[in-house]
Amino acid sequence: MGTVVLDRDDMRRTLVRIAHEIAEKNPDGAVALVGIHRRGAVLARRLQALTSELLEPAVPLGDLDISFYRDDYSIRPSAPVVLATHLEFPVDHRTIVIVDDVLYTGRTVRAAIDEVFDYGRPARVQLAVLVDRGHRELPIRPDYVGKNIPTSQEERVYVCVDEIDGEDEVKIESDLSPTQPPPTPRLA
């Protein structure tokens, strides 16, 4: 079911490349990684381990639960799992790299930027995504992209990670077959 576009090795290589790009663009090291729940937070944790080999001192890590900042809470079911935001370092004067799994409309990223600014005034905000699938509805553009995957709006992109799904891969499924609902619906 579905087409695998990134397998486990591809994902690892892609994250290593993004980590190098982050280190290259932020030689002063005043950078922090902030992942968007849930899979963005997992990817941010992996990127933190990779960038910390390249930058001194180790890069701080945070995660964001953007539920309270969404623009679609009245039409979207609230998540079954209640999560919280953790930003336990000062964001002032720092480059904040927001990390998410799939970049689609840009609305999630808009909410994440709003939330980061409630913690202080970062020097710069950058965006790292594993997959950019297009169809932006806001003027938002990623600084680091794992893979550009042109999709139609009927297709769905699934990013699976070991920590949550028990496997590392990215696949695309066409949403046209209602007989086989996917196990973990992703509205990315």
Partner: protein, 309 residues
């Protein structure tokens, strides 16, 4: 998934999973209160009316702050100085305020059942912030929140609720919430201040502090002198001699709670209030986060659930 809403009139409206969901949500709102900007846009553009027909400091201020930290617009009305003074009935007041299309009405009233009536007169979500001797569900939720933080879980704990059970809406809500979360509850006080058949709520009753040692948590209620028209106890001195919680009557490790405001030297001695065993300050601090969670789950959680149902 368990349903929360449309109103919160009683702890009976919530099953254990709903209580846990509200408390989990309160944990994430507690984080918001530690930020530089203590505000999230979750209820932006919605109106919340606080209607208080009875004096209150912490409940009204924490509901107001909770609504503001969710970016809602808040109208707070106290009976003193409002058209209630001019003789307007509760029903007319509620219908007038409903014309502003509020998302929620928070009501505190000296009459049991008032919140339930309001819920029939308005399309808004109604939150009971204390109705006479009936219930005070958000107080019970913040008590469970405080205890869960301290103990991890309430399962298997022994909780004694001591004092004026007869006039206490906090006690009714707490008995329901504590037992629902797996605790064993014993109520204790002078026989005149324990309602008959209180065991029907799922607790045991005692009239002396003799076995207080078995408690993990001692929850002390306020002597509600403003509600006592008859003499239920010979004197407050007599009451204090038999039921006041002092450091001497507490074992080390027992936790002490009180919903406030405290009558120092009546139900609690000054030393007990200030002892490290007391969680009274933590209860007050929990108020804002728990009330944010209740507002959020009623106004955001339920619409979302209705949308998928």
């Amino acid at each position: 998934m368990s349903r929360i809403g449309p109103h919160l009139l009683s702890i009976d409206d919530l099953d254990r999973a709903s209580i846990e969901r509200i408390l989990d949500r309160a944990e994430s709102f507690d984080e918001v209160s530690g930020r530089e900007i203590k505000k999230v846009p979750a209820l932006r553009g919605r109106t919340i009316v606080n209607l208080f027909y009875e004096s209150s400091t912490r409940t009204s201020s924490s509901f107001e702050l909770a609504a503001k930290r969710l970016s809602a617009d808040v109208v707070s009305i106290r009976s003193q100085g409002s058209s209630v003074d001019k003789g307007e009935s509760l029903k007319d007041t509620v219908q007038t305020l409903s014309a502003y299309d509020p998302a929620a009405i928070v009501i505190r009233s000296p009459y049991a059942g008032a919140a339930g009536l309001v819920a029939r007169w308005t399309p808004a979500a109604v939150i009971n912030a204390g109705d006479g001797k009936h219930e005070h569900p958000t107080q019970a939720l913040l008590d469970v929140f405080t205890l869960r933080r301290r103990l991890g879980a309430l399962d298997g704990t022994n909780i004694w609720i001591v004092g004026d059970l007869l006039h206490s809406r906090v006690a009714r809500s707490d008995i329901l919430a504590f037992t629902r979360m797996g605790a064993t509850v014993t109520v204790c006080g002078p026989p005149t201040l324990i309602p008959r058949e209180i065991e029907a709520l799922g607790c045991r009753a005692a009239t002396t502090l003799e076995r207080l040692g078995e408690a993990d948590v001692v929850y002390v209620l306020r002597m509600q002198q403003e509600r006592m028209r008859d003499s239920f106890v010979p004197s407050l001195r007599e009451y204090a001699a038999r039921y006041q919680i002092t450091p001497e009557r507490l074992l080390p490790g027992q936790l002490l709670m009180h919903p406030g405001p405290v009558n120092r030297g009546v139900e609690l001695s000054g030393e007990a209030i200030d002892s490290p065993q007391a969680l009274i300050g933590a209860q007050v601090r929990a108020g804002v986060a728990v009330r944010m969670a209740v507002l959020y789950e009623l106004l955001v959680g339920s619409t979302s659930l209705a949308a998928v149902a």
